[in-house]
Amino acid sequence: VCTSRFWFNYRHVANTLSVYRSVKRLGIPDSHIVLMLADDMACNPRNPKPATVFSHKNMELNVYGDDVEVDYRSYEVTVENFLRVLTGRIPPSTPRSKRLLSDDRSNILIYMTGHGGNGFLKFQDSEEITNVELADAFEQMWQKRRYNELLFIIDTCQGASMYERFYSPNIMALASSQVGEDSLSHQPDLGIGVHLMDRYTFYVLEFLEEIHPASQTNMNDLFQVCPKSLCVSTPGHRTDLFQRDPQNVLITDFFGSVRKVEITAETLSLDRDVPGLDSKFPEEELATEPLKYAEQLPVAQIIHQKPKQKDWHPPGGFILGLWALIIMVFFKTYGIKHMKHVF
């Protein structure tokens, strides 16, 4: 989830896209990823290279790529939509790609980046989500058995405050800085004119580039990423709610996905002609007279169009009659002689 709007927050979009790219590379398909970007940087009019988002200066790596699917764009990234995706309480007509279709055997990775403070994360410069709301949303997910294990990574200023209030089991959290510290950005690109990445995510990305779907690296290595000498802020983590020992948790448990493939040596022969296929089409009745296209600008028909039905109004005479009645009652009560003065 990237929660920042405006061109100078390019780095937050680049952060999110680089984690998206790593996760896709390690095997998680688009149908299992919900990507929320609060602003469009790639096709932004201020981007000198349209349709690209770079994460390294000198434009080495385009993390936007050619095969990206953004599920929540622009104004759709709000606190309400985010909590609805997490808890599953979405309006019935939401398409599948915008839903979190997880069950009690799913491991979920949540990565959030943006501007934050002590206990809150700012969404689009107009609203915030607090750590209490987030903890409650996770508890709702636990009650509904929407996750098996959850890894929460946050890269904002004072990020550790966001995981202080979690109380549901099986959650492991990482943050880029402690309470009272700011997370800093990595390097600006003079061609594009903005900072391209945040330090913590830059080093996490470097770490993830060495992971492949079969690697055995565990979470303790992820906790060591970006020490204070490189990051200037102190990354923090929280594992007390997690039941397994982080030493035994593989990185690919959350970042990657392996499909089980069964290889068989027997051959299956497919029938080239499926007998019933063509006959399934019902015999179409042909029209008796030729069908025709509509006229695009039927001037005569438009001018003489029947006027649309107006809403029912009481007839004008009704108002007149009502007023006449009022006047008659008035003069009857107060005497007929007043009428002579009127006329």
């Binding site: 095969d67 990206v68 699917e69 107009s126 600008l297």
Partner: protein, 580 residues
């Protein structure tokens, strides 16, 4: 006996249905035609229009169709489930400058535009419309779920169906425009996935996002409509037409040189054809201007030259048929190059017969004026045009200030349909049929007042402004050359989207610029300020009052003091000095 049985079996096997016949039956059912049209524009830019048409001879409405071959399943099921008769969705970035570039083959307004005709069997059209926009937002990764009653209108005269229609009750039509919608790679990716060959073979290999979005105009559209199956038109087929128009800028992509090639535009060349396509062609517009020799030279030499009357004008096209075996004889890849034979004179730019512009007039944050100018540059023919304007509810239009002036005199429209807005539920709809005299400029002005929204209704960046969607001009423009009724199947795809009944004029739909209007925005920190101030005032007042009422004073005994003080007092008593 055994030999006879074996012979019988062999005979039966040979007489069984061969593979060829059933395939031929299946092949007639759906077909893919693709083409690319390259037209150099008068300003030196070049426009490339891709059209992919999948035609399917099946009835999606009746019977459960479960075997989808070329027609994408996502759209087929959508059409069947929601009772859609026609669907047109366009996502556009940029604006087509009709004045300088000429009439567009197919224009779309900036942002997202969706208009749909439903079948007469649909009972609740609004519910189906809402579901449709949600499903499309998932398929195309666009925020089409923002389409609701505040930006949907029901046009009565424009947007007649482009496919077969049995009667046009406009209550089955819905039209919505989202001018703020951004188009980027995430919209192109699902669009490319709908093509039968994807982006791996055929003309679609040229569609690379990094080049397509580095352009002045990028528009991708999906059109689904029922069409005649053959010339007799006794049965219908469904047509899915995917079009993509991109205009490459002469200065940024062309690096200042007017010579274009496929490699320069798309950074790749054509290598092979899509095996599922029955026709795959590249057309290059080499029409001579002013009836002189061609100004344009194309290489490699085309497979044929085709003349067609497009938009009322005779045009010449160099055709490269990718399915003809002679094309890839010499080299594995096809890189069409266009070179100008002599430098183009900028004063020779032809002016299109119909073009329009729209702008906001006035000053300040209270009132304003929307002005539309429509130009008819035909020297002697007048023709009617329908103007459709959709204005959001927060710009309150004053219809009594609507004026239409042509050549200094008032021009009364033959048909006006105005539906006023309802706050927060419906936008304004203004539709007018105006007769444009020959060689004239028509100015339409209407004044509006800006409303103050509730503070939660402002978007996160309210100082950017609020968009007013493009207005739509539909007109039958008189042709320079009369068009014969051509067989729809043989004519190139770019001539066949708008069905034309009469050869003397052609139908064109133009869009004006979208407007960006500033609304008065409040200071969003005011709620915080008000809370602080109120709490301080209440605390000070209430606190003082409470203290005044409940505080009592009593005398306090001085404390005896610590040990040191008592000793000191004892010493002072001995000295005769008063105690501490």
């Amino acid at each position: 006996g055994g030999m006879a049985a074996v012979l019988l079996l062999l005979l039966l096997a040979a007489a069984g249905p061969g593979p060829g016949r059933a395939d031929a039956g299946r092949e007639r059912r759906d077909a893919l035609r693709e083409e690319l049209l390259l037209s150099p524009l008068p300003t030196g830019d070049v426009a490339a229009t891709f059209q992919f048409r999948t035609r399917w001879d099946a009835d999606l409405q009746r019977g459960a169709v479960s075997h989808y071959r070329l027609f994408p399943k996502a759209l087929g099921r959508l059409v069947a489930a929601l009772g859609v008769r026609e669907l047109h969705l366009a996502l556009t970035q940029g604006f087509w400058r009709t004045r300088y570039w000429g009439q567009p083959p197919l224009q779309a307004p900036a942002g997202a535009e969706l208009w749909v005709w439903f079948q007469p069997t649909v009972t609740d059209v609004d519910k189906a419309w809402k579901e449709l926009s949600n499903i499309l937002s998932g398929i195309f990764c666009a925020s089409l779920n923002f389409i609701d009653s505040t930006n949907t209108v029901i046009p009565t005269a424009s947007f007649k169906p482009l496919g077969l229609a049995n009667g046009t009750d406009h209550h089955l039509l819905r039209y919505a425009v989202l001018p703020r919608e951004v188009v980027c790679t995430e919209n192109l990716t699902p669009w490319k996935k709908l093509l039968p060959c994807g982006s791996k073979a055929g003309l679609a290999v040229l569609l690379k996002a990094e080049r397509l979005f580095h352009s002045s105009y990028h528009s991708q559209a999906v059109h689904i409509r029922p069409i005649c199956r053959d010339a007799s038109c006794l049965a219908m087929s469904w047509e899915l037409r995917q079009t993509l128009t991109v205009v490459f800028d002469f200065f940024s992509s062309g690096q200042g040189k007017k010579d274009w090639s496929l490699f320069k535009m798309f950074s790749r060349t054509l290598t092979d054809t899509c095996p599922l396509a029955s026709q795959s062609k590249v057309y290059v517009d080499i029409s001579p201007k002013n009836k002189e020799k061609e100004l344009l030279e194309v290489s490699p030499p085309p497979t044929s030259v085709h003349e067609a009357i497009v938009q009322g004008d005779r045009r010449t096209y160099a055709v490269y048929d990718l399915l003809s075996p002679s094309l890839f004889n010499t080299s594995r890849s096809l890189n069409v190059q266009l070179k100008w034979k002599r430098p183009q004179d900028s004063s020779e730019m032809p002016i299109p017969t119909l073009h329009a512009q729209r702008y906001v007039g006035g000053y300040g944050l209270q009132m304003g004026e929307i002005c539309t100018l429509i130009y008819n540059t035909h020297p002697y023919r007048a023709f009617p045009v329908i103007l459709l304007e959709t204005v959001p509810w927060y710009l309150r239009l004053y219809v009594h200030t609507l004026t239409i002036i042509t050549k200094g005199k008032e021009n009364k429209p033959s048909y006006i349909h105005y539906q006023p807005a309802q706050d927060r539920s419906r936008p304004h709809l203004l539709e007018m049929l105006i007769q444009l005299p020959a060689n004239s400029i028509t100015k339409i002005t209407i004044q509006f007042e800006r409303a103050l929204l509730k503070w939660t209704e402002y978007p996160p960046d309210p100082n950017h402004g609020f968009y007013v969607g493009s207005s739509v001009l539909s007109a039958l423009v008189p042709s320079v050359t009369a068009m014969k009724d051509m067989d729809v199947e043989q004519s190139p795809l770019f001539t066949s989207l708008f069905p034309s009944s009469d050869g003397s004029s052609y139908f064109v739909r133009l869009y004006t610029e979208p407007l960006l209007v500033n609304l008065p925005t409040p200071d969003f920190s005011m709620p915080y300020n008000v809370i602080c101030l109120t709490c301080t005032v209440v605390a000070v007042c209430y606190g003082s009052f409470y203290n005044l009422l409940t505080r009592t004073f009593h005398v306090e005994e001085p404390s005896r003091g610590g040990l040191a003080k008592r000793l000191a007092n004892v010493i002072r008593k001995f000295r005769g000095v008063p105690p501490l």
